[in-house]
């Protein structure tokens, strides 16, 4: 049996209780634990360049005094008594420094009990058990097909696991149960990601493929390597064509890249309803004296539904303690039906008493048209592998700009005729989702998390064909 790479629930509870035993009282001492492990492997020019297997513990201690400032947290990665006590003392000193007596907190009633949610699929033994040697074998198997064709392969493979737990000591009104305000019940998760770029040695062709999931068993490394090689081969010697408006076939990764800004805007609804710029802000209602959002209005093509289910085994969403998990449709048949919101907004104005984060993971509906069929029915257009360097130019229209990368092809009379040089685009995902001609089958895409304690934001999206996509200039990158 493999040694424990992260702290167990029992380990965390013992540390939390030990830390709390050092608190002198007279304030709220909150202790949080993040325990993580990460195994990674990087290669470039067909050679391994980095392999690591690291783990760490981050214990955060913060103490607040009623009527005072929280002050900054104190962080340690040592679990012995002396270190924990020193951290608690340092947190107490900090809270004294920042305290502002006289503010008063008032009266708070008992906090409602929140039941734990344990249905989310966020843990995979296949990810947790993937050892250093196995990772090396996988990388070798991904380099080999590229090397065999004389190409250069680069890539990154990472598996990680994390556990989180937190507990405070005071404000009994605010924590009637394990899942009350500010406390984080023990939660553990895994993540895996693999991506590879294959380049032609002349620098004139590039292919990319990648995938991420909480479950390594869902990532087919061999298929990724094969796709990257194939794209590299097909993208060599691109020709320059005029920028302009083209019909585009966006592969699933390109769709996910493009609509990332739109999905982020599903939270919070306080932005449009507070009158701040947002694609969902409608207008100020002078009669009611409030800002109206586009909730209930058709915002994209009626074939589009974007939703998530916290229990979806293909997604893997880590829930927040204050959420009451339920399936949420953000856009349903083209109509904006839900926006994420803060806990207090729900309590004050809506009908429940929970927080609703935005689409941290999502599924986008598709159709049954294959990419081959999309190509066959296109008189003149472009096939896009993915986008990079996207930034939003205007938050209300979501007009964005970015680059095509790692494979762009011209389609003429139903056939791919040549590889073309990359473009800069200037386009809004809202317009693209209103100009859809065909949709394909949704598939998981590459949505990695970079932060050590970060959690997945998985997505399942379809390829699509859209008309009048605006490419504004040629770029030299491959």
């Amino acid at each position: 049996m493999r040694e424990a790479r992260i702290l167990t629930s029992e380990d965390c509870r013992a540390v939390l209780e030990r830390a709390h035993s050092f608190a002198r009282g007279g304030g709220d001492t909150r202790v949080g634990i993040l325990s993580w492990w990460q195994g990674e492997l990087r290669w470039a020019r067909n050679r391994m360049s980095l392999a690591s297997d690291r783990r760490s513990i981050r214990i955060t201690v913060a103490r607040t005094v009623p009527g005072g400032n929280p002050g900054g947290p104190v962080v340690t990665n040592q679990l012995d008594d002396a270190s924990l006590e020193a951290a608690v003392r340092a947190a107490e000193r900090r809270s004294e420094l920042g305290s502002k007596p006289g503010r008063g907190l008032g009266f708070f009633p008992q906090f409602p009990l929140y039941e734990p949610f344990q249905k989310a699929a966020i843990w995979s033994d296949a990810t947790y058990d993937l050892g250093l040697e196995e990772r090396g074998e996988i990388a070798r198997s991904m380099i080999a097909p590229a090397e065999a064709k004389g190409f250069l392969s680069a890539g990154y493979l990472e598996v990680r696991a994390g556990a989180l737990a937190a507990l405070g000591t005071e404000f009994p009104e605010l924590r009637t149960g394990e899942y009350a305000l500010g406390d984080q019940p023990y939660v553990r998760w895994t993540q895996a990601q693999c991506s590879t770029t294959v380049r032609d040695p002349t620098g004139l062709g590039s292919g990319w493929a990648g995938l991420s999931s909480y479950d390594w068993a869902r990532i087919d490394a061999g298929a990724l390597a094969e796709r990257a090689v194939q794209k590299c081969q097909a993208s060599r010697d691109p020709v320059a064509i005029e920028p302009g408006r083209y019909t585009v076939i966006l592969e699933p990764q390109a769709v996910a890249d493009l609509i990332g800004s739109l999905v982020r805007e599903f939270y919070p609804r306080e932005t449009p309803e507070g009158g701040s710029p947002s694609p969902w802000r409608l207008a100020y209602d002078a009669v009611l004296g409030l800002w109206r959002s586009k909730l209930g209005m058709k915002v994209v093509d009626e074939r589009i539904t974007i939703s998530h289910d916290p229990a979806d085994p293909a997604l893997g969403i880590v829930m927040h303690p204050l959420e009451r998990p339920r399936p949420v449709a953000w856009i349903e048949r083209g109509v904006l039906t839900n926006l994420g919101h803060r806990f207090d907004t729900d309590v004050k104005r809506l009908e429940g008493a929970n927080r609703l984060r935005g689409a941290t993971g999502y599924r986008m509906s598709g159709g049954d048209t294959s990419i081959e069929e999309m190509i066959r029915t296109t008189r003149r257009g472009l096939l896009v592998t993915r986008f990079s360097n996207i930034r939003v130019l205007d938050r209300e229209s979501l007009l964005s700009t970015g680059l095509t990368r790692d494979g762009l092809w011209l389609i003429e009379n139903g056939e791919i005729t040549k590889a073309v040089k990359n473009f800069r685009f200037t386009e809004s995902p809202l317009l693209v989702l209103n100009n859809i001609e065909q949709l394909g089958e949704p598939v998981p895409v590459f949505r990695p998390t970079k932060d050590e304690g970060g959690q997945l934001t998985p997505a399942i999206v379809p390829p699509l064909k859209a008309r009048d996509f605006s490419f504004t200039s040629l770029i030299d990158a491959v």
Binding site: K100, G104, T337, F343, L350, G352
Partner: protein, 501 residues
């Protein structure tokens, strides 16, 4: 020379080895001392002075441990000198800009506050003279007015103007008096003269009443001499300054500055008139308003119902008072009615930081408690409404339960005021929006006097009512400053009540 350097290095290394810290890995603070004379631009100097002032403020806050929003304002605070460290910073840094004749006039609004903070009052005056002398004859009226307005804002503490990056604090409007006396004759436009006086009044809240009354008298004298067209211009200019573009949009939130100006400029006379009667107070207030602003007396404070009979409060639940609790405001007593509900401040805590937010309920309830403690004879009533939840409790929270919890909330701040709680009617926007829209409660409708007095029910509006049930004053009760004007009026009303009994 190279040999000497090598020898010196060896000596230093040897000294380090045999010194007391040899063999230890001690952390030493880096040398962060700043050479202010190195600062080459006026912007760097402004930043340095700001940092010095901010550092002192933080230090003082930590040493004293006082959160100023909940303590009474110290009237002497405005007279405290600028801290020595700030003055020294300004002096050291401004040395290279000390030659008034050679400094670019484009830096006028940056240099002037720097000179004042450095204590170089004569240099500041010389800069002003040079700036005003540079105005071409063609631009005489408009530019002189603009420059004097800028100087007033600089000496007056900035006035929140983003174009003035360094505020003179404490303000030095006393220095501006002389400048105004010298240069106002160059300003032939009497409307612009009046507007300058308004600016000085508005910025001069800290000044002694005699200085303010002097300016008020000048305003009234000038206003009385205006032609009809000048009066119209003045009226329009005052509206523009207060961002009032539409007569129907006059509301209480917008005009607190004007109200404060009127009160300050005639403070003693207003209090004396209130000692005589509420009717005299109202009449004098309106006259003062009309003379100073050129607007009709009926527009006094844009419809604030001063002198109107206070409507009797309704409530589905009354808590914290005797049985029976009504009618309130009680005849024969000086009353303070405050519209405030727990939902109007930090009620829902979804993060520990929320507990310490500036929207803390204490900003309203602590000043209210202070007024209650200072004036035990004052009858106080908090008018609240149901919101369908209390803090984060929602399920099973009936209006009765919400009223009980609100009472406990007031008690937790030491507020003894009676609580009038009204069950709100509400409706919801259609799905998927689903937001709750509360209808106005009868008490809010009544105190809006047929919509002639617009005020936001989400803000803590307080109405002061005399023993005869007439409204004397209305103001937002936020922070201790807001309570001060109320306290002065309450004191007079209670004196009057005692004299009558």
């Amino acid at each position: 020379m190279r040999v000497a350097g090598a020898i010196l290095s060896v000596l230093v290394a040897t000294a380090a080895m045999v010194g007391p810290v040899a063999g230890q890995a001690l952390f030493e603070w880096p040398d962060t001392a700043v050479d202010l004379s190195e600062y080459s631009t006026v912007e760097e100097c402004l930043a340095a002075v700001s940092r010095a002032r901010e550092a002192l403020a933080i230090h003082e806050e930590r040493v004293l441990g006082i959160w100023r929003d909940t303590v009474a304002t110290d009237p002497g605070e405005w007279r405290k000198p600028i801290p020595g460290a700030v003055v020294e910073t300004a002096r050291w840094c401004a040395k290279r800009f000390a030659e008034v004749e050679s400094t670019p006039l484009s830096d006028f609004r940056f240099l002037l506050p720097l000179y004042v903070i450095a204590g170089w009052e004569e240099t500041a005056k010389a800069l002003i003279d040079r700036r005003l002398a540079a105005i071409a004859a063609d631009d005489e009226v408009s530019e002189v007015a603009a420059v004097l307005d800028t100087i007033a804002h600089i000496y007056g503490g900035g006035g929140g103007d983003p174009a003035l990056p360094l505020a003179v604090r404490p303000p030095r409007l006393d220095l501006f008096d002389g400048v105004l006396a010298e240069y106002l004759p160059r300003l032939s436009d009497r409307v612009k003269q009046i507007l300058l006086y308004w600016t000085v009044l508005r910025l001069g809240s800290y000044r002694d009443p005699a200085a303010l009354e002097e300016y008020a008298t000048r305003i009234e004298a000038l206003t009385d001499s205006l032609s009809e067209s000048e009066r119209e211009r003045l009226s329009d200019e005052l509206k523009r300054i207060q961002n009032i573009y539409d007569d129907e949009a006059f509301d209480g939130d917008r005009m607190s500055a004007l109200m404060q100006v009127v009160f300050r400029s005639r403070r003693q006379m207003l209090l004396d008139s209130l000692r005589h009667s509420t009717a005299a107070y109202v009449r004098f207030s309106r006259d003062t308003w009309a003379r100073a602003s050129t607007w009709p007396a009926e527009t006094y404070l844009f419809g604030m119902p001063v002198g109107e009979r206070a409507p009797t409060l309704e409530g589905d639940y009354w808590l914290g008072c005797g049985d029976p609790c009504t009618p309130r405001p009680a005849p024969g007593r000086v009353s303070l009615v405050v519209f405030y509900s727990p939902g109007n401040c930090t009620g829902v805590v979804d993060h520990s930081a929320t507990l310490y937010a500036m929207s803390s309920c204490a900003r309203v309830l602590v000043p209210l408690r202070q007024l209650e403690e200072r004036f035990p004879e004052l009858e106080t009533t908090v008018v609240a409404r149901t919101h369908g939840h209390f803090s984060y409790l929602k399920e099973g929270v009936t209006p009765e339960r919400e009223a009980e919890l609100t009472r406990r909330w007031l008690d937790s701040f030491g507020v003894r005021a009676a609580l009038s709680m009204t069950d709100s009617d509400y409706w919801r926007l259609p799905s998927p929006d689903r937001r709750r829209i509360d209808n106005d409660i009868p008490n809010v409708t009544a105190y809006r006097f047929g919509e002639t007095w617009q005020w936001s029910a989400n803000r803590p509006w307080a109405f002061l009512i005399d023993e005869a049930g007439m409204i004397v004053h209305a103001a937002e009760l936020i922070g201790s400053d807001a309570g001060e004007m109320l306290a002065e009026l309450i004191e007079v009303l209670l004196e009057r009540q005692r004299a009558q009994s």
